[in-house]
Amino acid sequence: MAKIKLAKSKVDTLVEICKSFNNEGSELINVLHKAQETFGYLPAEVQEIIARELNVAVAHVYGVVTFYSFFSMVPKGEFPISICMGTACYVRGAEKVLEEFKRQLDVPVGETTEDGKFSISCLRCVGACGLAPVVTIGERVYGRVAAGDVADIIKEYQS
């Protein structure tokens, strides 16, 4: 089995997070949320430690991480792009917008550009259906986005 290498401070932080949830296996999702909030993503090493601390199988942890699109095993970009694929956004052309982001940044959903600047993910409904299709970059929300707007949006972050 693979050896895990992780800085002590990181391990300590994880142990602390698990402890704050009483090392309960049933708190796995909450622990993963907190861990992703702290580290930005959930690499294999982090999942191994969480499994050990909560006394659950690491395969199970991985199963949960891969089930929920919110969790990511790769670091998100400096500017994380999320395209809403909820029903309203979808019927108003979100898929075309997504395809355009993928094409222009040359990166698939769930991954990050080589320079670490952008990552693309999909989400389901940000509660702004009136603005469909919606794209969020970091905390900023873009409404009524069309495929033709994508180049200009990306440009805003490239300077």
Partner: protein, 611 residues
């Protein structure tokens, strides 16, 4: 999470028992037949009572083992409930008063066939060359439902085939019934497999979708034993064996595990629990093995070594030695060995150091026997026939090799042997009964019962009692050690000295006993552990039981029958064992015994290196 799941199923069990007490009965009609069932009964179970076998691909209920899996996922078991809008999955729908149910009307048959066709639309079309062909539930049902063409064409999942030393995973063939997950997580608590990803991409896989070999898999093979398709199969060594048997330069000897003789007949249409020892021996001889030996002989040898070790530790304990490790745990089962190496490495000095019978047979064959036969080690091939998939891995372990040559070259399963016999144009049922060869073919009743849960510790008790007390055991049957309960305990009286014995089968049960030891709560002197439910008779390499756990009971009964019929029933009275010690090993736990018949264990837990 795993723990929580288990609690839920326990609660469910508790509820249904409570309901039974209240004796609230429900009347319903299934296929025009009336039936009364206790509250809480599922439609599937009620139908079964009436002799109606509703087909299913995911539901699994091994009653005697307390194993239940009803995710309602495959949707094959749907039935029509009059007055209900949609069809109901019978495996997890409870019976209600006055229900009128149809299990095979037009609507149901059409739905079932459509579900099957959808499943097949994402399934490879390689039935003719699939290892599971002829024994595949998916194939059988597709045929049964009259699927003759597929109306749905679409994307098909493709995954890399994962070859481990014991188990092959071909997830293109997985239908997500998730029985393997239940066996791996809830029953065995191994946690090697989990459903990962979602939607079309979902698949059952080890953590990080790495190879099984790099996971915590113990190779117990219980996932293979319940897989309804060809997604999980064993690594097949039959072609290697056919090549070796055809090589005139090689002396090929075979050893057969106790549990094989109680199950092999099933592959030839014989009733479960039919003993085919003599027929199996003649089949092996006709296949071309130079000598046909018995792992039961090595089981007797195991008792000599393990029993001596037990008495040594016990004596030290009685003499007040605080460092001596008790309880002693049996070490015959390679799935169990893998389990504690992965999950309880801190306790790796507690199990007996005695090798398993398979791995005791190998070195004795390649030294003592090879010498007697005048055969060089490199010209001898030792093959084992095992009810087990972990044995395939065990014989490849580095510590069981001499200069790269394995003591046991490879292991083939009961299922593989059945195929081999059929391939050689033999019908087992018509073969004559023959005897094993000697000197490694003679065994006692104690060796035979190794194949059933509780058998190893009973065999050890028979010998240890006589060695310790110096008296003859009047009654060799220790009934208290037998049975199918997951965890059992009994106290055996060694002439005034009470010996506490624990037994666990199924790794989830083993885990409970181990946690007690770790917490200092264990009162046992000796514990027998078998990875598979029922012991080796329920091994991952046995003929598939297709969910009928009564088969396991019948196999166990067959072994106890063979034991009863033996003239000698205590390992230390086996004349060839006595001779082996006189001529070769000296005495149990001698220096040579330690070199050839004992082993050591490794920490295989996930090492976390902190920078």
């Amino acid at each position: 999470m795993v723990l929580v799941w288990r609690n839920v199923s326990l609660m469910r069990l508790a509820f249904s028992k409570e309901d039974l007490k209240m004796e609230k009965m429900i009347k319903l009609t299934i296929d025009n037949k009336q039936i009364e069932v206790p509250h809480g009964t599922t439609i599937y179970e009620a139908a079964k009572e009436l002799g109606i076998e509703i087909p299913t691909l995911c539901y699994m209920h091994l009653g005697d083992m307390g194993i239940e899996h009803k995710p309602g996922g495959c949707r094959i078991c749907v039935v029509e409930v009059e007055g209900r809008r949609n069809l109901a999955p019978s495996c997890n729908s409870k019976c209600e008063e006055g229900m009128v149910i149809h299990t095979h009307n037009m609507r149901v048959l059409n739905a079932r066939k459509t579900v099957m066709e959808l499943m097949l639309s994402d399934h490879p079309f390689d039935c003719l060359v699939c290892a599971k062909s002829g024994n595949c539930d998916l194939q059988t049902m597709a045929h049964q439902f009259g699927v003759r063409e597929l109306h749905y064409k679409g994307e098909q999942s493709t995954y890399k085939v994962d070859y481990s030393p014991s188990i092959i995973r071909d997830m293109d063939k997985c239908i997500m019934c998730r029985r393997c997950e239940t066996m791996c997580n809830d029953v065995q608590t191994v946690g090697a497999l989990s459903a990962v990803n979602r939607g079309f991409e979902s698949v059952v896989a080890p953590a990080f979708e790495m190879d099984l070999e790099k996971s915590t898999c113990t190779y117990c093979g219980q996932c293979v034993a319940v897989c309804p398709t060809g997604a999980l199969t064993e690594k097949d060594h039959t072609n290697q064996l056919i090549r070796d048997l055809a090589d005139p330069k090689k002396t090929v000897v075979v050893q057969t595990a106790p549990a094989v003789r109680a199950a092999l007949g099933e592959e030839f249409g014989m009733e479960a629990g039919t003993l085919v020892t003599g027929k199996m021996v003649s089949a092996l001889r006709r296949l071309g093995f130079n000598s046909v030996f018995d792992t039961d002989f090595a089981a007797d040898l195991t008792i000599m070594e393990e029993g001596t070790e037990l008495l040594e530790r016990l004596q030290k304990h009685l003499d007040g030695d605080k460092d001596v490790k008790l309880p002693i745990l049996t070490s015959c089962c390679p799935g169990w060995v893998n389990f504690f190496e992965h999950h309880f490495p801190d306790m790796k000095d507690i199990p007996s150091t005695a090798r398993s019978p398979q791995q005791m047979f190998g070195p004795i064959a390649k030294t003592y026997l090879a010498d007697k036969m005048g055969v060089k080690r490199e010209d001898m091939i030792v093959v084992s026939i095992m009810p087990c998939l972990a044995k395939k891995y065990e014989c490849q372990r580095d510590e069981f090799k001499v200069d790269g040559d394995p003591d046991v070259n490879y292991s083939i399963s009961t299922r593989e042997l059945a195929n081999l016999i059929k391939q050689a144009n033999m019908d087992l049922t018509t073969l004559p009964e023959e005897d094993f060869d000697n000197p490694l073919g003679e065994s006692t009743g104690a060796g035979v019962i190794f194949g059933a849960t509780g058998g190893v510790i009973e065999a050890a008790a028979r010998t240890a009692y006589e060695v310790y007390t110096g008296k003859t055991l009047e009654k060799v049957d220790f009934d208290a050690l037998r049975g199918m309960e997951g965890i059992r305990s009994a106290t055996v009286d060694f002439d005034g000295l009470p010996i506490n014995i624990g037994i666990a089968h199924g790794l989830g049960n083993a885990r409970k006993l181990l946690e007690d030891i770790r917490d200092g709560k264990s009162q046992y002197h000796a514990i027998e552990i078998m990875a598979c439910p029922g012991g080796c008779i329920g091994g991952g390499g046995q003929p598939l039981h297709h969910g009928d756990s009564s088969i396991l009971k019948k196999r166990a009964a067959a072994l106890y029958r063979e034991d009863e019929g033996k003239a000698i029933r205590k390992s230390h009275e086996n004349p060839y064992i006595i001779k082996l010690y006189e001529e070769f090993l000296g005495k149990p736990c001698s220096e040579l015994s330690h070199k050839l018949l004992h082993t050591h264990y490794f920490d295989k837990s996930n090492e976390i290196e902190i920078e």
